[in-house]
Every structure is written in structure tokens, then in C-alpha cells.
């Protein structure tokens, strides 16, 4: 193709002199950037979505190198090729010349029966692979999934026909709902009230206002609440006993039968019986369950609802704080500030607020807000709970304030850009008609700039939703027992710690004991977070673009 003739040489030289190769190389930079952005999004999307897709369940019959037969039931989780040399020390026989061996990572579930819920199977060892229709996946509250065959169904201690399975599942759902509402709403509320009454008593004591009558009254209140608690507890025990009489007998892959109480069962699916449409329905169901359920099994299973809730609440609080400050600062910089050293300093401050590493905000938030301001608030307003802190400990309010400082420059820059694009003719017109500067701002400038302000706020929200490092210091926890918003007075508990999607990813992906089992959930959470943030950013960009178009029209 390429002869080393003189003409070719000249051609080459000419080509190099034209600079074209370098231009192409720099185009390569663009291509790599594009590939990496889109590839990254695609990677997260595919890995995240496959978590929800109901997998086929396989039954593998195999003989291992010692000649022992085995049956493995489970979903194929991963597959890889390993060099044949790695198997040299085992007795696995391979056709000569084969350099790599395929092996499958199978998720076998049944955590209470086997020590490992994942195992590697060498493809050459597998004798038969089938997809039995009768295999069920039982999603459970504890111990993860169970794979096996249903043997019999027991309702209230008596065996019933297997066709009544859906009915039983519904029954257990109703029971669980009742138990949940008893446990969380009613009993939770009573505990909270008892705690508050105790604190009230302590407060009176500290203020030296505790008279005997008052003490008696408070004690009476506590006693009444405790009595109420006992009733509810009895009711709860009754429900639990009743539900414990429904059982499912299943056969696991190694042939042993296991009885599972219905109270532990969330869902039973015949994955291999599902057609594409059913699978799609299950897929949607799984997604919605992921969004609205509480996490189970130390966050490695179940949903991420508390994390979504925590993220949203914290971000909303932050928005409330950052919006007025950001907008006012931007208005000052663009409308009021003169051309002097102070303005220059201010601009440097804005740039630096944007550039300071987020962890520094976390350190500042922890030291200043949590320990200094929070500690003082506790001394002043919550002496009755000391030494256990109320606001003197990381919580959702401090997180919101810390992130508000962090996102302040985002709002300022975006708002200022919007203000700069408003033609000065509009200001002059308003002023010429006799309006004061404040009136011009309020009636003319702000309404026109509002989309720019919105853009800034959306970008700030996107930034805050993805920020994790400072939150690790000022309020995020891996498992919050209570949401910061509930039915107990004062409803919004700003002192509580909260869960956060970003931290959830870090925690489940890196701190959980069974990282392999948790990984799909982490991908799913990452997908959720990326979707939110990308959507927010795209909205912001489109709002800004539309705004730019509008201003261009105003100018002409």
C-alpha cells in the first residue's frame, strides 16, 4: 500500500508540514473526552438498570475435579476468562492448546445454608445447564434471596394448595403493613412523647421550677403513655404470633427442604416463567420498590428511600438559605458595587469560595457550626438534654448551611450573568419614569433575571446533591433510625442526622461487609444520582439558553 518511493516521501512531508496530523491529534482529544463522558454514563446506566431486570435462574449440574457431583441453582452474575495456566495445579482436564478457560460467577443466595452466596463455576466442569420453570426467587427481609422449588404452602398451620400463594402473599403484606404502622407510627410516637416528658421534667428541675404537683402530673403522663405502650406492644405480639403460623416449605439446590415463615417473605417470582412483557412489568415494579422502600440488610438490599428523602430535604433547606444570599450578593456586585478595591476583593472572594476544596467547608462546618454555634445553642436552649448534644452534633441543618456556603458562588455567578445580559435601556427607562433604584430592581430587573436566578439555583442544587466529602463531617450517617421529618411535634427535626444518596454509594460500596453482593445496588444508586444531577444540569442549561435567546431578541 505504502511504497517507499520519493513521491510518497514528499507527500508525507507535505502532509506533516501542513500541520494536519496535529490537528487530527487534537481532534483525538475531543473524541476521547466525548467517549469517556458518554461511556461513563452508558456504563452506569447499563449496570444500574440490569440490577432491576429479573434474571434467568439456571440450574447447573457439574462434576468437579475430584469427581463429586453437584447442583447449583442461581443467576449468572459475571463471567470471565482466566489463563489455563492458573488451573495447572488442579485436575481439570482441558483440550490441549486451549489457553483460556471461561468461568461463571453464580449468585446462589440461600445465605443461611451456605457460607458463600457467590461461587465460581468452571465452564468445562458443567455437565448440564437448564432453566427449570418451577424455580422461584424468594425475596426476603433477612438473609437475601432464596432460590429453590416450592414444596408446600402452610396457612395458619394447615397445608393448602399452592394456587393460594398470591392470596397468602397479600395476607402477609397486610399484616406487615399493620405491624409497620404500629411499630413506627404509634409506638414510635409514644416513645418520643415519653422522652419529651422526661426532658420537660429535667428542664423544670434545672430551672428550679419543679413543684411536687408538677412532678406528679408529669409522672402521671409518663405512666399513662407507658400503659398505652403496653397495650400496643401486646397487640403487636399478637399480630406477630398470628403471622408466624403461615409458612412456606421450599427445596434448596442441595436437596434439603427449608421452612420459611411468610413474615420474612417480600415477594415470590417464577423468573423463568416470565415472558418479556412480564419481565418488563417486574422491572418497573423493582424500580419503584427501589425508590420507595427502606434499606435492608445493612443497606445492601432493599430501597434507598431514606437516602432520597434526606438528600432532597437537605438540598431544599440549603436552597432556602443560599438563594436570598446568592441573589443579593449578585445584585450588589452588578448593580451597586463601584469600581474600587472592595469590589475587586469581593470578586476574588467569590472565585475563591468556588475554588476552596469542599472538605475544607466540612472542616469549617464541623468546627464552627457544629461545635461552636451548636454547642452554644445547646447551652442556651437545650440544657436539659446535656451532656448528650442536640444541635452540638452533626445534623441536617448544619449540613444545609455548610453546603449553602459551598454553593453560594454558583448562584452568584449565574445570577450576575443574567443581570449582565439585561439591556441597560430597561434600567434607564424605569429610572427615567421616576422609579427609585430599589423599585427598578424589584419590578423590572428581578422578574427579567428570574430565569437566570433559577438556573443558578438549579445548578446549586445539582452541585449540593452530589457533594459528599463535607457532609461526612457535618451530618450524614449510614443508617438514620428516623427521618428528619415525621408526625411528631415539631415535625421537622433539624437536629437529626440524615442519609444521603452520595454517601450511600460510598458507604455501601466501600464499607459494607459483602461488597460483591452490594455492588449492583451501588450501581443502581449511582444511576439514580447521576440521572437526577444530569437532569438538573440539562434543565439549567436549557433555561439559560432560552434566556439568552430572549435577551438577544430584546436587544434588537
Amino acid at each position: 500500500m505504502m511504497k517507499n518511493s520519493n513521491k510518497e516521501q514528499q507527500n508525507m512531508n507535505k502532509w506533516f508540514r501542513s500541520g494536519s496530523p496535529w490537528i487530527w491529534l487534537s481532534a483525538g482529544g475531543v473524541s476521547i473526552s466525548l467517549i469517556s463522558v458518554l461511556g461513563l454514563l452508558w456504563l452506569i446506566a447499563s449496570k444500574g438498570l440490569s440490577y432491576f431486570w429479573p434474571a434467568d435462574i439456571y440450574e447447573f449440574k457439574s462434576i468437579n475435579d475430584k469427581g463429586i457431583h453437584g447442583t447449583v441453582i442461581g443467576e449468572i452474575y459475571d463471567r470471565e476468562f482466566i489463563p489455563a495456566s492458573q488451573l495447572a495445579h488442579t485436575a481439570v482436564k482441558l483440550p490441549p492448546g486451549q489457553e483460556t478457560v471461561e468461568r461463571l460467577l453464580v449468585k446462589t443466595g440461600n445465605r443461611e445454608l451456605v457460607s458463600l452466596d457467590f461461587r465460581w463455576l468452571l465452564v468445562p466442569e458443567i455437565q448440564t445447564t437448564t432453566k427449570p420453570e418451577e424455580v422461584v426467587v424468594i425475596e426476603r427481609r433477612t438473609n437475601g434471596n432464596f432460590y429453590g422449588y416450592i414444596e408446600s404452602v402452610i396457612l395458619e398451620g394447615k397445608e393448602v394448595d399452592i394456587t393460594r400463594l398470591p392470596e397468602l402473599l397479600e395476607r402477609v403484606d397486610n399484616f406487615q403493613e399493620e405491624i409497620d404502622s404500629l411499630q413506627k407510627t404509634h409506638i414510635g410516637a409514644i416513645n418520643y412523647k415519653i422522652e419529651r416528658t422526661r426532658l420537660k421534667e429535667r428542664k423544670y428541675k434545672l430551672d428550679n421550677e419543679l413543684t411536687e404537683d408538677l412532678a406528679k402530673e408529669l409522672n402521671g403522663e409518663v405512666a399513662a403513655l407507658e400503659a398505652e405502650y403496653k397495650v400496643l406492644e401486646a397487640e403487636l405480639m399478637g399480630l406477630r404470633e398470628e403471622i408466624a403460623r403461615d409458612q412456606l416449605v421450599v427445596r434448596a439446590m442441595d436437596g434439603q427442604t427449608v421452612t420459611i415463615n411468610f413474615e420474612h417473605i417480600l415477594k415470590i417470582t417464577y423468573n423463568n416463567k416470565l415472558n418479556f412483557f412480564d419481565k418488563f412489568l417486574t422491572f418497573l415494579e423493582q424500580i419503584s420498590a427501589f425508590l420507595v422502600d427502606d434499606p435492608r440488610e445493612a443497606n445492601t438490599e432493599g430501597g434507598v428511600f431514606p437516602a432520597i428523602f434526606g438528600t432532597v430535604l437537605m438540598v431544599l433547606l440549603m436552597t432556602v438559605i443560599v438563594s436570598p444570599f446568592g441573589v443579593i450578593a449578585a445584585i450588589y456586585l452588578h448593580e451597586y458595587a463601584g469600581k474600587n478595591a472592595l469590589t475587586k476583593l469581593l470578586r476574588i472572594a467569590v472565585i475563591n469560595l468556588a475554588g476552596v476544596p469542599s472538605i475544607v467547608y466540612g472542616v469549617f462546618g464541623l468546627g464552627f457550626f457544629v461545635y461552636m454555634v451548636g454547642g452554644s445553642l445547646d447551652q442556651l436552649f437545650y440544657p436539659e438534654t446535656l451532656p448528650s448534644p442536640t444541635f452540638g452534633t452533626p445534623g441536617v441543618m448544619w449540613s444545609a448551611i455548610t453546603l449553602a456556603i459551598l454553593t453560594l458562588p454558583v448562584v452568584i455567578v449565574s445570577t450576575e450573568e443574567g443581570l449582565a445580559r439585561i439591556p441597560s435601556a430597561m434600567r434607564h427607562g424605569s429610572l427615567a419614569l421616576g422609579a427609585t433604584k430599589a423599585e427598578t430592581l424589584w419590578r423590572i430587573i428581578l422578574p427579567i433575571a428570574s430565569p437566570a436566578i433559577m438556573t443558578g439555583i438549579i445548578l446549586a442544587i445539582a452541585r449540593a446533591a452530589g457533594e459528599v466529602a463535607p457532609l461526612m463531617l457535618v451530618g450524614v450517617v449510614k443508617m438514620a433510625p428516623n427521618l428528619p421529618l415525621d408526625g411528631n411535634f415539631p415535625f421537622l427535626h433539624l437536629d437529626r442526622k440524615f442519609m444521603h444518596l452520595g454517601f450511600h454509594i460510598y458507604d455501601v460500596g466501600f464499607q459494607s461487609p459483602n461488597v460483591e453482593a452490594a455492588r449492583p445496588l451501588v450501581y443502581a444508586t449511582a444511576l439514580l444520582l447521576v440521572t437526577i444531577i444530569v437532569a438538573l444540569n440539562m434543565t439549567a442549561v436549557s433555561v439559560r439558553n432560552r434566556l439568552r435567546e430572549k435577551y438577544r431578541m430584546l436587544e434588537h
Binding site: W15, G19, S20, P21, I23, W24, S26, A27, G28, G29, V30, S31, I32, S33, L34, I35, S36, V37, L38, L40, L43, I44, P83, A329, Y332, L333, Y336, L342, L346, I348, A349, I351, N352, L353, A354, G355, V356, P357, I359, V360, Y361, G362, V363, L366, G367, I405, T436, K437, A438, G466, V468, A469, M472, L473, I505, Y506, G509, F510, V534, V541
Partner: protein
């Protein structure tokens, strides 16, 4: 008229109110930045404060005989004194509950039959051995207990006898002692003594159960072979393993662990005139004072000839006088050197800091003690007892200890070490900011190495060669990367990229060759295309054409990787690197961090560099092109040159981002604080270190303040970088507008 006037007034009022409010809001941004700066400084400052020693109270003792030993309780409310006549007396140090300062709380006779005390020997601050002139030996433990009444706290003192109230038999021959040392814990008490009949003996009392409950014990008598008749001083380490016997200018070290045989371990010969010695907290180091005012620290170092005591560092007292006595703190590595004229010098060993010095009393004190919490010293001289409060919270931190090599106990040589916590109690925290600052620089360096070529080439192409239509799509797409949460990049780096790189390591290095090569081949292929096709696929579509080309070459790199691994690296690159090249290989290493953090930095650099290049005035490039320069020549000679300050500021911003990034480094490295440039090893950065350790550090401790210092270093670094970048950008903008 009046109404209108009033309304104008309100409007004006509102107007000026709005002005003030908005100005206030604007200034608050500056205020916030200053507040962060000041608060960080406020937390850090105490670390660098030097110690202070101030007298808080003084009282006259009621006994007129010489004081042999003193002590104080944890709360500094009650002090005691043991005098020559065998009295222990407790005095109040505060005016409380109707009692005056200096009033006697309680006293007890420790010696019977009218004897006098000859020696009082301390083991820690808890136990004291009393030897009297009748040759009776007894171990006492002065105890304090806080009793809370309705509205106040009372300290009650008592004397415990952990080894029983009967005199102890410490010598088989019942000889009297000229020197004696003693140390005990809850299971064992060890005495080493020089008897007046010339023997060096060791006596061990082994508890049957625990001395905490039951004083019963078995006694083992041993005699130690020792060459010299003269013994000046004996010390036993609190862990009961070693005895130091000073004879003239030689210190012999004996091992005490063996109940059958006491062996001479080594001899320390400091080549000076030894005037005093003491054991540093933690029982590893011995301090030796000499007649020239120098105190030297010695501990065991593993050398060529096994472990041996070496002189590690020395301290000179402020006057150059003889070091008469050395007193050490119970838990920290601080010590007090006292001269015969009553001058006290306070030092901290590992930070090599002289913390304080001054004359506390007019002559060498009769008795001297450091309070249990090391926040006070108590000095008795001529029947005057003085309490000095000591403010010395962070003696281990000095600027030089943070940034220089420090020789810690148990280490073979001085080193930079960050090790803030450990399981054991007598652990000394090691705060060197060098390894984590180094890690920060290393991470940023590899990230920039990866990001700069891609970001800059992409910026150049997008700003200068790309069609506006394409640019409108490409720019927001790349900028979308900036919005991706770093926690996601970190998670992918740690759980997806790191294992991938580990199993396809050759592919990464193949790509470095393949990607440019395939790009050039594609470019040349396009050049060779027939004209008609060239018009259909113009050169402006290069980035789009290159996407499949790059994907294919990436695929080839990965496909070739196992083959290359098999034939060149014996089937396992990781093993090859570890065994053949002798480089440690971590799965989460600098390469992973470089790539992951590179992705985070690319959009920052890209956006700003692209802006700088794009805003180069058109007439400059048009002029150049009109004069016959090619596109590329114009770019290199005109555009890049003009935009170079902007590109530089883009790089600075990128660097600032890379230095402060937390989550990616936290998740994609092993977070080990090591000093190693190797691309196959991890690192610990300042930011990740804060994220890891801050939640566990105790508020107000040295560790807490040093983490704030780390944050401050980050703050200042990014402040300088950002301000510089902004300044340059501003200059550039002015230049463009003037062109």
C-alpha cells in the same frame, strides 16, 4: 401634596434601606471567606503556643523537717507531703466549703518506733516505697476520692497498702540499703537495691492473684553480679523489664524478665559526667543529665550488631549548670530538668522543643512532682509548698516536627511518619504532614499528567477548528462531566476501574501508544481519500470520525493485553512487577487515581482553556492566515501565544481542583501515608486524611488541630492558586478588550 411628599419619603427610605441591605449582603460574601480563614487559624493557633508556667498558690507546711516527697490529686485540690519523720500530711489547695487554703485535711504516721524515713521511691505516681531507718520497707498508695454532696465536691484522701501493712522483707540477709529502686504493676513488684554489705540484689514479689484485690504474694530473692562496688542511682522501667544501674559515668542495663537469672544486657557510656537520670514515659527511653547542663535521650535502636542503646538527641538547659534532677510526665514525653539553683527547663523529646524555662525557687527543691494530668507542678523548698499551673496542651507539635524527619522511639532512623492513632495506650501519635502532603502532590501530578494533554488538545480543537454547530453540542457534553458527582467517579474508579486495570495492565500502556498511532493512521487515510469522498466527509468531522477509530484501538489494546501478558510477563503482570521489578503493586494505585481524578479535572481545564482560546480576537488570526501561514502555524504562533496566560490559569484551576479533591482519592487509593512516587502504589492525601480521621478525632486535641491545619494548608494553597489564576485571567481580558 403632603401625601405625595410623604410617599416620596417612604420610597426614598425604602430605596436607601434596600441599598444598605444589598450592600450588607454583598459584603457578607467577603465576610464568609474571612470568617473561614480566621476560624481555621483560631483552631490551629494553640498548637504553636509555647508552654506557660504560672504560680497559682503557695502554702507553708506545718512540719519543720525536710520534705522527701510530694504529690497532688487529679483535680489539683489536695496536695500531700511526706517528711523525714515519717508523716504524710494532706493539705487543701483551694478555698472551699469553709476551709482555708493550706489547712490540713488529714495526716498519718507511716513509720513506727520513732524511726526516720531514709528513702522514698516512686513507681509511677501511684505507688511509693518507704524505707525507714529501722530497715522496715513498706509500699503505700495515696488515694483520692471525689465525694459529691448537694452542691459541692469534696476530696477525701486515704492511704492504701497494696502490698499489706506489714513491713516487707526485701533482702534475705536483712541488710540495709544504700540505694534502692522499685516498680510495680498489679501482678508483680520488683525491687533492685544496693545493700550496705556490697551486694546488688533483685527481689520480686509475685502476686497470687492481683495486687488490686489481694496483697498476698510470693517472694523471689536474686543476687545480681555487678563489677562495681559503687552505685549512684538505680531505675526500673514501669513495665518491669529493665533496670538501669549508674556507677560513675557508666550505666549498666539489666534484663529483669527472667526470674532465675538477671543478665547484663548492655552498658551505656555517655562520655560525660552523669549527674542525674530519669525514665521517659513509655519505658523505652532513658534521659541522662550531665554537669554541663545537657540532657540526652537514649533508646534502643536496631543496628548492625543487634539492638543497642544510642544517643538520639540532646537538650541544653538555659543556664549550662549541672542538671541536678530530671522529672518526667506520666503519659507524655515531656520532662523537667532542675538545677541546683532552682532553674527549671521544660522540654519535649520528640519535637525537640524547649517549652519553657525559668527560676521557680531559690535553690534545688527538696521535692518536686508533676500532677497526674500534667497540668501542674508542685515544688517544695524550705517548707514552702508552691503550686504552678502548666499550660502545655500540645508539646508534641512544632513547625519543625510537622515538616522534618523525627526520630521516634523504636525506629531505626529519623523518618517522616503520619500515624495518628493506634490500639495501645502508651502509643505516641506521629504527626508528620510530609507524607500526606506528598500524597496530595503525587495524586495531583498523576491526575494532571492524564488530564492536561486530553483537556488542552480538546480545548484547542473545539475552540479553533470546530464548526459552530458541532461546538454547540460538544462543549456542553464535555462540561456535563464537571457536574458528575465525584463520589460516582471514585466509586467507579475503586470498584470497576481498579480491578479492570489490574487484570488488563498492559492494555493501559498499549493504549498510550495505540491511541495517537491510530489517530495518525486515520488522519493519513483521510488525506489519501479521493476528493469526492473528502467533500462528503470533511475534515471538520474529525472528532466524529475518530470515535470509532479510537474505540477499535481500545478494543485491540484490551484484546492484545492477555496475549502480551502471557508472552512477556509470564502470565501475570502483577507477579512480574512484584517479583522481577521489585515494585510493590497495590490494586488501588496512583494510576487509577490519575485516570479517575483526571476525568474530574478535564472539564475544568477544558472549559477555561477553551474560553481563553475562543476569545482570541479574530483579526489576529485572520491577519496571520492572510500572510500565508497555515492554520496550524497560526494556532501555534499566534493563537496559543496570545491565549497562553488564559491556558496557564486554566491549568492552575485544574491543579487547585485536583489538590482538594476528596472522594475520588478516598475511594480509589488504599490511603496509606507513604513517600513513594511509584505509579503502582497508593497514597494518602490531605483531603482524604481529613475525611478519614476527622470524625474520630477528639475535639481540641492535637490531632484535631493538626487536621484543621491540614485544611488550612489546602485552603491557603487553593486560595493562592485561584487568586493567581483569576488575576491572570483578568489581565488577559483587559488585553483582549484593548486589542
Amino acid at each position: 401634596m403632603a401625601l405625595a411628599f410623604k410617599s416620596t419619603g417612604t420610597r426614598q427610605l425604602k430605596n436607601s434601606l434596600a441599598k444598605w441591605l444589598i450592600t450588607l449582603g454583598g459584603i457578607s460574601v467577603l465576610f464568609t471567606l474571612v470568617l473561614i480563614f480566621m476560624y481555621l487559624l483560631y483552631v490551629i493557633k494553640p498548637v504553636f503556643d509555647s508552654a506557660t508556667v504560672e504560680q497559682t498558690s503557695q502554702l507553708s507546711l506545718t512540719s519543720s523537717t525536710k520534705t522527701l516527697s510530694v504529690g497532688v490529686d487529679e483535680l489539683k485540690e489536695v496536695a500531700y507531703q511526706i517528711n523525714e519523720l515519717g508523716d504524710i500530711r494532706f493539705y487543701r489547695l483551694t478555698d472551699k466549703n469553709g476551709h482555708k487554703i493550706g489547712s490540713q485535711l488529714f495526716s498519718q504516721q507511716l513509720v513506727s518506733n520513732g524511726g526516720e524515713i531514709k528513702h522514698v521511691v516512686d513507681s509511677g505516681i501511684n505507688y511509693k516505697l518507704i524505707v525507714d531507718s529501722n530497715n522496715n520497707n513498706i509500699v503505700i498508695a495515696p488515694k483520692f476520692q471525689s465525694v459529691y454532696t448537694a452542691d459541692s465536691r469534696e476530696i477525701i484522701a486515704r492511704i492504701d497498702y497494696p502490698l499489706g501493712e506489714e513491713p516487707l522483707e526485701l533482702d534475705e540477709n536483712n541488710a540495709s540499703f544504700s540505694k534502692i529502686a522499685f516498680a510495680m504493676d498489679s501482678e508483680k513488684a520488683v525491687f533492685v537495691a544496693k545493700t550496705n554489705d556490697g551486694r546488688l540484689i533483685k527481689t520480686t514479689l509475685l502476686s497470687e492473684d492481683s495486687f488490686d484485690y489481694d496483697p498476698a504474694f510470693d517472694t523471689i530473692f536474686q543476687e545480681i553480679e555487678f563489677y562495681s562496688k559503687k552505685v549512684d542511682e538505680i531505675l526500673i522501667t514501669p513495665d518491669l523489664s529493665l533496670a538501669f544501674v549508674q556507677s560513675g559515668n557508666t550505666i549498666s542495663v539489666f534484663e529483669l524478665d527472667d526470674e532465675d537469672n538477671v543478665t547484663l544486657k548492655t552498658e551505656i557510656k555517655p562520655k560525660t559526667t552523669i549527674t542525674s537520670m530519669a525514665l521517659l514515659s513509655g519505658s523505652s527511653s532513658i534521659l541522662i543529665g550531665d554537669n554541663k547542663g545537657q540532657i540526652s535521650q537514649w533508646f534502643e535502636v536496631a543496628g548492625e550488631g543487634g539492638r543497642d542503646f544510642q544517643k538520639i538527641r540532646s537538650f541544653n538547659n538555659s543556664t549550662g549548670e549541672v542538671v541536678a534532677k530530671i522529672y518526667t510526665e506520666q503519659f507524655r514525653k515531656s520532662f523537667y530538668g532542675v538545677t541546683a539553683t532552682g532553674v527549671v527547663d521544660v522540654f519535649y523529646t520528640t519535637s525537640e522543643a524547649q517549652l519553657w524555662n525559668g527560676k521557680l525557687v531559690s535553690s534545688q527543691p527538696d521535692a518536686f512532682a508533676v500532677s497526674p494530668r500534667s497540668d501542674a507542678i508542685i515544688v517544695v523548698n524550705n517548707n514552702d509548698l508552691k503550686i504552678f499551673s502548666v499550660h502545655n496542651e500540645h508539646p508534641e507539635v512544632t513547625w519543625s516536627a510537622l515538616w522534618n524527619e523525627v526520630w521516634y522511639e523504636g525506629y531505626a532512623e529519623p523518618d517522616y511518619i503520619w500515624q495518628s492513632t493506634s490500639g495501645t495506650d502508651d502509643f505516641e501519635a506521629k504527626f508528620s504532614l510530609v507524607p500526606i502532603s506528598f500524597g496530595t502532590i503525587k495524586a495531583a501530578f498523576y491526575a494532571m499528567l492524564f488530564a492536561v494533554p486530553i483537556a488542552l488538545t480538546a480545548a484547542i480543537y473545539t475552540a479553533y477548528f470546530m464548526t459552530p454547530a458541532l461546538r454547540k453540542k460538544v462543549k456542553p457534553t464535555i462540561e456535563l462531566m464537571e457536574a458528575l458527582p465525584t463520589v460516582i467517579l471514585g466509586f467507579l474508579a475503586g470498584l470497576w476501574l481498579a480491578p479492570l486495570i489490574e487484570s488488563y495492565l498492559p492494555a493501559i500502556f498499549l493504549m498510550v501508544i495505540f491511541l495517537p498511532l491510530s489517530t495518525l493512521i486515520a488522519a493519513f487515510a483521510w488525506y489519501k481519500l479521493p476528493k469526492e469522498l473528502k467533500i462528503k466527509i470533511p475534515e471538520t468531522l474529525a472528532p466524529v470520525i475518530l470515535i470509532p477509530v479510537i474505540l477499535v484501538s481500545v478494543y485491540f489494546a484490551f484484546a492484545l493485553s492477555p496475549v502480551l501478558e502471557l508472552h512477556m510477563f509470564g502470565g501475570d503482570v502483577r507477579q512480574y512487577i512484584t517479583n522481577e521489578l521489585g515494585i510493590n503493586f497495590d490494586q488501588r494505585n496512583a494510576l487509577v487515581v490519575g485516570i479517575a481524578m483526571g476525568f474530574a479535572v478535564i472539564p475544568t481545564i477544558f472549559t477555561m482553556a477553551e474560553d481563553a482560546i475562543f476569545s482570541v480576537p479574530r483579526h489576529l488570526t485572520s491577519g496571520s492566515l492572510a500572510l500565508g501561514a497555515t492554520q496550524w502555524q497560526t494556532l501555534i504562533k499566534v493563537v496559543l501565544l496570545t491565549a497562553s496566560p488564559g491556558i496557564f490559569s486554566a491549568l492552575m484551576m485544574g491543579l487547585g481542583r485536583a489538590v482538594g479533591e476528596t472522594m475520588i482519592v478516598l475511594m480509589a487509593t488504599g490511603n496509606t501515608p507513604i513517600l513513594d512516587w511509584s505509579i503502582f502504589q497508593g497514597m494518602r492525601t490531605l483531603a482524604a486524611n481529613i475525611a478519614v480521621e476527622m470524625p474520630e478525632s477528639e475535639v481540641g486535641s492535637s490531632h484535631y488541630r493538626i487536621l484543621f491545619l491540614a485544611a488550612f494548608v489546602l485552603f491557603v494553597f487553593t486560595f493562592v492558586v485561584n487568586t493567581l489564576a483569576e488575576f491572570i485571567r483578568q489581565r488577559l481580558r483587559d488585553k483582549y478588550s484593548s486589542l
